[in-house]
Subunit: 422 residues, 2 copies
């Protein structure tokens, strides 16, 4: 269980890799029942895709996970309400404006954009889900939606998945997509996911936007369970800057077109097969988020074992993974284990300094709380020069293990975030 | 009560200012009973003061507050034990090496350095307090202490206060000292404080090193109480990077030479007069720490009122004050109130978005959760161009108020911390 994130990272070389679920990034996949479209609507910038639509011919079983931030954007509030029945038929998503902290007016405008979609597609209003990302506190310009709705709907095609993935980007530097296919009851089932996000990435969901379309036949409780399980083990195990956004969500729409035997409460085996594939897609997206973290130059897994409980291991891992001092040392390729010890010590978990072991990759640098010397440091520094590595901490106080994936903290992070709105 | 930090900040112009306690920075003050010395012992760097000694002719009433980090440096562990009786006669302090994560060997070396002092000064071993700051995980080089102990002791003079303040600096760019004098029972009582620290500054004590010498006549419980109260309201209300060190401490030594009426449990009035003066000194030092925060270009007070309880106001203020996104926006002079709303929303405190007011200085920018428009933003941006300003948040849900002082987060912070050990 624990190895999942790190085993992926260890073998993670960007876009090319293989897995049991035949994840083949970069290959356009056609998910039965869905079409996609994106246009440049000049919501914030001119001439770039910023308005996307995901459409299913028929109502889909749909599950969502939303930000834990109490300040929730209008589209989040609308979607939470609309997803009570676990069904939807379209997702309208824009970048450039978050429609957060916009009050009743923001909700009205959100609902108006969904009406535009429902009219154009002749589907009920409440079958449209909304999603926005961008600057907080500005009202959406409804005219941008009005002017481009026809173009958006006319552009719907099974081949435009990647265009929507592009339209949701903000400070992202690369498009993030992931695919999987599996066989359930002899039928091929496909999943295609897209995500955006490179700052404001933090646990307890929140994080960023991700949309997954799949043709699996599944009932809502099983889809929802699979999503919660997957998000907990992927997006909730990464951190870029410790902040949590007002807008973020993961939605998964299942069209049922794969014609596999229905996955419901009576088919735990098939549910697990699907759940694993979904987790792989989410994981792949999560790692792409870390790799594209604002200003990030390195991807680091913090693996803590030997804690009394898994939750304590997680607490320690998270304290290290969010420490600015640790993250700047990673950027500087400095095997500064002292900052890691200091983070362990302030994590709030009872630890025994004289038991703690620390290794960078497979190079031990601290044993029983003590530095192993300059040769060890020299070798550890070589590990830090890599683009991906892990830091392993053994507290030697129990069997609790957990890991969190983070990135380094660079000069560019500050530059990006000091300049973001200007 | 609430106004203390901010009222100081609002009137804070660096080294020149006046207060009721006649704080006169930059003027050398002579605290009766004490002498000071510092030498360049080449502990890490050549040719800079890095070893200091504070000495009292007679045993002093002494109180201390220490890091809350579970990973405590050797000098911290030694001092906690030695201060059980509330008495000391000397503080030996070095920069360049933290003597943290150094195990039993580190404790032995620490004790050996204190023996050098006790022999040279002919005082009992356990009357010597130790303090170290610098890189974690390296053993102290005892020979540096042996070679320079005579020079250090011979240099003791009432005029060398500033030299010790210089010897404790690490990444600090300026010497930090503060003074106060008050009258108790017709007798003048003086306090002189020094501090170091510019990163790893974070609440719950921890923070940094500060030493205060005073000639007040006071018993231990009252001195300890005054110190705890003062630290809680000053050093525990500032944050630079959210990290908490393994080494940090505030020590106050009272020589009793002022000959004021004894302050003990029966003199609450005089205790308060002293406590106020001590708080002023601590506050002054705390603000100097913020102003010298690693890479900091601005000093910002986050003031939260209208919370249900003070502790909830503090939680919200702290979440804002430690958000990298908020702090980078300050650096970019961007009135990005959306990031402040997002921080409020994830603070863990129940809030009502539709009630929240935000102002930069005296410029309201959000009213009842909504943006007040571009003119407000324009005016707020002018406030952000200043070197010192406050951000006021009214949650309108109660009478709880609190404030936390922070600095902006600059490109230089990352540079300093990526390069610190190299």
């Amino acid at each position: 269980m624990i190895e999942t994130l790190s085993s992926l990272i260890d073998g993670y070389g960007g876009r090319e890799r293989e897995s049991r679920t035949s994840i083949t990034n970069g290959v356009r996949m056609n998910i039965k029942g869905f079409s996609y479209s994106a246009v440049a609507a000049s919501i914030k910038y001119q001439g770039r895709l910023d308005l996307g639509l995901i459409y299913s011919e028929k109502p889909c079983v749909t599950a969502g996970v939303f930000t834990t931030n109490q300040v929730k954007a209008a589209p989040v509030l609308i979607d939470i309400k609309r997803l009570k029945e676990g069904r939807s038929q379209a997702i309208l998503v824009n970048s450039g404006c978050a429609n957060a902290c916009t009050g009743l007016e923001g909700k009205k405008i959100g609902l108006a954009t969904s009406s535009l979609v429902s009219k154009a597609l002749s589907i009920p209003d409440d079958m449209v889900l909304l999603s926005s990302t961008g600057v907080i506190g500005q009202q959406l310009d409804i005219s941008a939606f009005e002017q481009h709705m026809d173009e958006l709907v006319n552009g719907l095609s099974s081949e435009n998945f990647g265009k929507v993935a592009e339209a949701i980007m903000t400070t992202d530097t690369v498009v993030k997509t992931a695919y999987a296919s599996i066989f359930i009851g002899g039928k091929e089932v496909k999943l295609a996911g897209m995500a955006k996000g490179s700052g404001m990435i933090m646990p307890n969901m929140a994080t960023m936007l991700a949309f997954i379309t799949t043709d699996v036949q599944i009932s809502f409780p099983e889809l929802h369970k699979s999503l919660l399980f997957g998000v907990e083990r992927t997006f909730n195990r990464i951190t870029i800057d410790g902040d949590t956004s007002t807008n973020d969500m993961v939605l998964v729409m299942a069209s049922g077109k794969a014609d596999n035997p229905w996955i419901d409460g009576d088919s735990p085996g098939n549910q697990l097969i699907f759940q694993d594939a979904l987790e792989d897609v989410l994981k792949d997206l999560a790692l792409q988020l870390i790799a594209d973290g604002e200003g990030a130059t390195k991807m680091i897994t913090i693996r803590v074992c030997g804690a009394k409980e898994n939750c304590e291991a997680e607490k320690v891992a998270r304290t290290i993974a969010t420490s600015n001092l640790v993250k700047t040392a990673f950027f500087g390729e400095d095997a500064n284990w002292g900052r890691i010890m200091a983070a362990i010590g302030r994590s709030g978990v009872r630890i025994y300094e004289e038991r703690v072991d620390i290794a960078f990759g497979d190079v031990p640098i601290v044993k029983n709380g003590l530095f192993l010397g300059e040769q060890a440091e020299k070798e550890a520094t070589e590990i830090l020069k890599g683009k991906q590595f892990s830091v392993c901490i053994d507290l030697k106080d129990g069997a609790g293990c957990e890991e969190v994936c983070t990135c380094d903290f660079s000069v560019d992070y500050v530059k990006i975030n000091a300049d973001y709105r200007s």
